[in-house]
Each structure stands twice: as structure tokens, then as C-alpha cells.
């Protein structure tokens, strides 16, 4: 089922990764200089005060030809990254689907629910400009969204997800092994598991546990199921909405998710956290992994991130990063002290939400709770 990339496909894909590095290093850095050395001092001189929010910065920066060119090339680079995958997949998708269909349920399982309503927040735009988005289902047995996602998300993360694209899941495992060394969950759920790349580390970390993954996109699940079986791991995949699942109350010891919150909505997110609470057994743990709130970043970083909302089909990204998550946790029924936000910086010691004075720290934010 693995795609067969030609010599030129591989060149094109390697080049898109290099191009992303170049855009980040040269163009983003240049735009920062335009902001810090020109636009910011000019604004202060004219207004007698510094910029107060990212909207003011955006309004001024959008007039700057350097920034215009930067965003224009960045958008093209994002589209060409996907194109380096989709053009070649189109040639071979029929053969790949035939092979995926032969995959047997010897270890895990796959349950597709064609009647599940697809929520608008996942379907109104093709998120990250991924052609077809997460939920396109071209035909019976379609795996194309999974094949596009698996290769594209590896490139999107510039390979930092690791060869198996499981860095987020692995970082939750590392956290659990460090903070809860005796925790031995028997039933684990990964919400919004996509192709299950970040679900697999839980199979390895807790070999005696039943591991479940739910996801909205049928073609992601079919691909993920075939991929997981080929890796020799057991995951039970089902097509379900994390806002309201068909699992029984108190049926999981551990519930996780990897970077799904910002792809939901203001209404769906509290429901997902409340559903997490409903599904957890007493004493069970939740660990939802996400990008940090805007308050943890300076105004320029906020402006850079915010551009993704408008230019990279990320409709909920900025709204999410402005939300008061502490309030959302409390409303979902987590009383004081049972849940908190926690930063795992890349390559540094952990930082808690009570000690986050330092801005712009890059890492994964965890929403952690014990029922």
C-alpha cells in the first residue's frame, strides 16, 4: 500500500522541504526585520505609542511589499508541497486501494459509519490547503485522504514528526512515563486520530491495553487501519465525532488527542472536553496536546501565527488561541486543581502554567486532567 515515488517525485518532495526551510529562515526573518526596524518605529512615531495588538500590526504590514511577497511565496510553497504528493498519488491510487482492501483485521479493527454527520468546522475549508481535506470520501474503500495526509503532514512538519510521524503521541507517552510511572491504563482512546500515527506509541508504551482511535474522515481511517496492521500494531479505529461518541460512561483509563483542538470550533471544543470527562473512569487521565495560547507569545509571533488563519485555511486557529482554556476546563466539570495547562518545551525542562512568564517558548501545550 506504500506509494511508489519516482526519482522526480522524491526530488520534488525534498525540494519542498528545503523551500519551507528557506521561507522560514529568509522570508520570515526579513519580514520580522521590516516590522522591527521600520514599521514598528514608524507607527510609534506617528501614534505616540507602540502597537497594542496583532490586528494593528497586520493592517500596517499588509502594506509592505516585502511582506506581501513573503506571504505570496509562502502560500505557493504550501500548495506546491501538497502538489508534490497529490499528482503522483493520482497515478497510483487505484492500485493502492486494491492493496489496502486486502488488509485483514488480524490485530485491530475498523468501523466506518457513513451516516455520521460531518461537522461544518472540519469541512468548510480544506484545512492546511490539503486538497480534498480530511473528509473527502471518493468511493467505497477510498484511502486517498490518508495517503495525502500521511506523506503531506510529514513534509508539513519538515520531518520533525520523525519517520513514523508520531512525535506528538510519543511526547505524551514520555510525559506519562515521567509524571505517572506506575500508571497502567487498560483502555486508551485517541480522539481525532487521523491515520493513527500518533496513536501507535500508546500500543508500544502500554502493550496490555486496548487502544482505540476515533476520527471524522473515513478515508483517513481506512488508510490508518491498513497502515497500523502493516506495522503489526492493534488499534480499534471507528468513525466518530469526539463531541459525542458511542462509548459508555467511564469506559477509558486514558484519553488523549494530538493537535485537534484548533481544528474544531468554539462550540465543539467544550463538548469534546466534557465528553472526555464522561468517558474517563474515576482516577483516569486526560492529556490533550495542542499549540499554545497567543498570550504566551509576543505580538509579532502572534501576527505570524494569525496569518495562518487567513492564508492557510485554518478557520479556528486564531479564535482557539485566544480562548480562555482554564474557563473551558472549569465549565466542562473539572473542579479546581483536577486539570491544568502544562508546557513541554522542545528540548528543555517542563514548565507549568503558573510559571509561564517567558514568552515565545516553543513546545507542546498539554491540557492535563485526572478525574
Amino acid at each position: 500500500m506504500t506509494p511508489d515515488w519516482s526519482h522526480d517525485d522524491k526530488s520534488r518532495q525534498a525540494f519542498q522541504r528545503s523551500l519551507r526551510e528557506c521561507v522560514i529562515r529568509d522570508l520570515s526573518n526579513g519580514s520580522r526585520l521590516v516590522f522591527e526596524n521600520q514599521v514598528s518605529p514608524k507607527f510609534e512615531k506617528e501614534n505616540g505609542r507602540p502597537f497594542q495588538n496583532r490586528q494593528e500590526i497586520k493592517a500596517e504590514m499588509r502594506k509592505e511589499p516585502f511582506y506581501q511577497a513573503h506571504l505570496s511565496i509562502q502560500r505557493a510553497a504550501q500548495e506546491l508541497m501538497w502538489a508534490s504528493v497529490t499528482y503522483s498519488l493520482d497515478r497510483q491510487i487505484d492500485g493502492m486501494m486494491a492493496k489496502a482492501k486486502q488488509s485483514s483485521d488480524t490485530l485491530g479493527s475498523l468501523t466506518i459509519n457513513p451516516d455520521m454527520p460531518i461537522p461544518k468546522y472540519i469541512d468548510s475549508l480544506d484545512i492546511h490547503c490539503m486538497p480534498g481535506g480530511y473528509t473527502t470520501d471518493l468511493c467505497d474503500g477510498d484511502i486517498s485522504a490518508g495517503a495525502i495526509y500521511d506523506k503531506g503532514s510529514y513534509m508539513y512538519g519538515s520531518g520533525r514528526g520523525g519517520p513514523y510521524g508520531d512525535r506528538s503521541g510519543q511526547s505524551i507517552v514520555n510525559y506519562l512515563k515521567r509524571e505517572h510511572p506506575d500508571f497502567a491504563p487498560k483502555r486508551i482512546l485517541d480522539m481525532g486520530c487521523a491515520t493513527g500515527n500518533n496513536t501507535v506509541p500508546f500500543c508500544d508504551a502500554y502493550p496490555d491495553a486496548d487502544v482505540h482511535g476515533i476520527e471524522l474522515g473515513a478515508a483517513l481511517l481506512r488508510y490508518g487501519h491498513a497502515r497500523t496492521e502493516s506495522l503489526g500494531k492493534a488499534i480499534h479505529f471507528s468513525q466518530q465525532n469526539a463531541e459525542q461518541t458511542n462509548f459508555e460512561d467511564e469506559s477509558f483509563d486514558l484519553i488523549v488527542s494530538c493537535i485537534i483542538f484548533h481544528e474544531t470550533s468554539r462550540k465543539a471544543l467544550p463538548r469534546i472536553i466534557a465528553e472526555t470527562r464522561r468517558l474517563l473512569k474515576p482516577g483516569g487521565l486526560m492529556v490533550h496536546l495542542e499549540a499554545g495560547q497567543f498570550e504566551n507569545f509576543d505580538l509579532w509571533r502572534q501576527t505570524v501565527f494569525d496569518a495562518e488563519t487567513y492564508n492557510n485555511n485554518e478557520p479556528f486557529w486564531s479564535t482557539y488561541r485566544d480562548m480562555d482554556l482554564e474557563a473551558v476546563i472549569a465549565e466542562a466539570g473539572w473542579s479546581d486543581g483536577t486539570a491544568h495547562l502544562h508546557l513541554e518545551p522542545f528540548g528543555h525542562a517542563p514548565v507549568t502554567s503558573s510559571n509561564k512568564s517567558q514568552k515565545n517558548m516553543l513546545g507542546f501545550w498539554f491540557m492535563v486532567g485526572q478525574k
Partner: protein, 119 residues
């Protein structure tokens, strides 16, 4: 789906494509240029493979090109070559960024002319 239907993998993303310049023609030129540099690299890398194989064997088969895997040194060299290509094509941004870092402006340029003209 019947046996004869060819599944078409989506190639474009749903959602209005943003533009950034006052004249969207400039955005189209940027997109075409970014795609063109990609295709230029694809040719360059293929040639590099041909050269590597030619040096190694003198003669080679086309399927050997498809199967060619660069060793770690060559893979590293290729990344260096790609970054050099990108730097060359996007040199104008480097020029501008360094102007900004130095504080060079049209006025400072004018000043230099005037200063040098002062005897």
C-alpha cells in the same frame, strides 16, 4: 464505483485563494516562479544522479536512475545545493533584508551621493 472508473485524487483545496499584492497578477507570477524553481531542481537533481552514476560505472540503465539512493554525504551535499539554489533565486529578499538590518534607505543612499559630492 465500476471497474473502469478512475478515481481522481483532489488536486486543489476548497476555500478562496488569498492574494497579497494590489495586483493579483503579481501573486500568480510568484506562484509560477515558485513552481518553476521546483521543476528546475527536479531537472538538476536528475542530472546529478546521472553524473553520479556515470562517474561510478561509465554506463548505466534508466532503471538504475529510479533506484538510485544517494549515500549520506551526497544527500547532505544535495541539501546544500538546494539551499544555494534557493538563495540565488530569492537573492533579492536577502538584499532587502540586509538593507533593512543595516538601516540603508533611499535617503541614506542620497546622503552618500551628496556626501561624496561635497568637496
Amino acid at each position: 464505483m465500476t471497474e473502469t472508473t478512475k478515481v481522481r485524487v483532489p488536486q486543489t483545496a476548497k476555500g478562496h485563494r488569498p492574494t497579497f499584492f494590489e495586483d493579483p497578477t503579481n501573486d500568480r507570477i510568484m506562484a509560477m516562479m515558485t513552481s518553476m524553481i521546483t521543476e528546475m531542481w527536479v531537472m538538476r537533481e536528475r542530472l546529478d544522479t546521472v553524473e553520479a552514476l556515470a562517474a561510478k560505472k561509465g554506463v548505466f540503465l534508466e532503471e538504475e536512475i529510479e533506484q538510485f539512493e544517494p549515500d549520506p554525504d551526497r544527500a547532505e551535499e544535495r541539501e546544500r545545493m538546494r539551499q544555494e539554489l534557493l538563495s540565488r533565486v530569492f537573492y533579492v529578499f536577502q538584499e532587502e533584508a540586509e538593507d533593512i538590518a543595516r538601516g540603508d534607505t533611499p535617503e541614506s543612499y542620497e546622503d552618500a551621493i551628496n556626501t561624496s559630492a561635497d568637496r
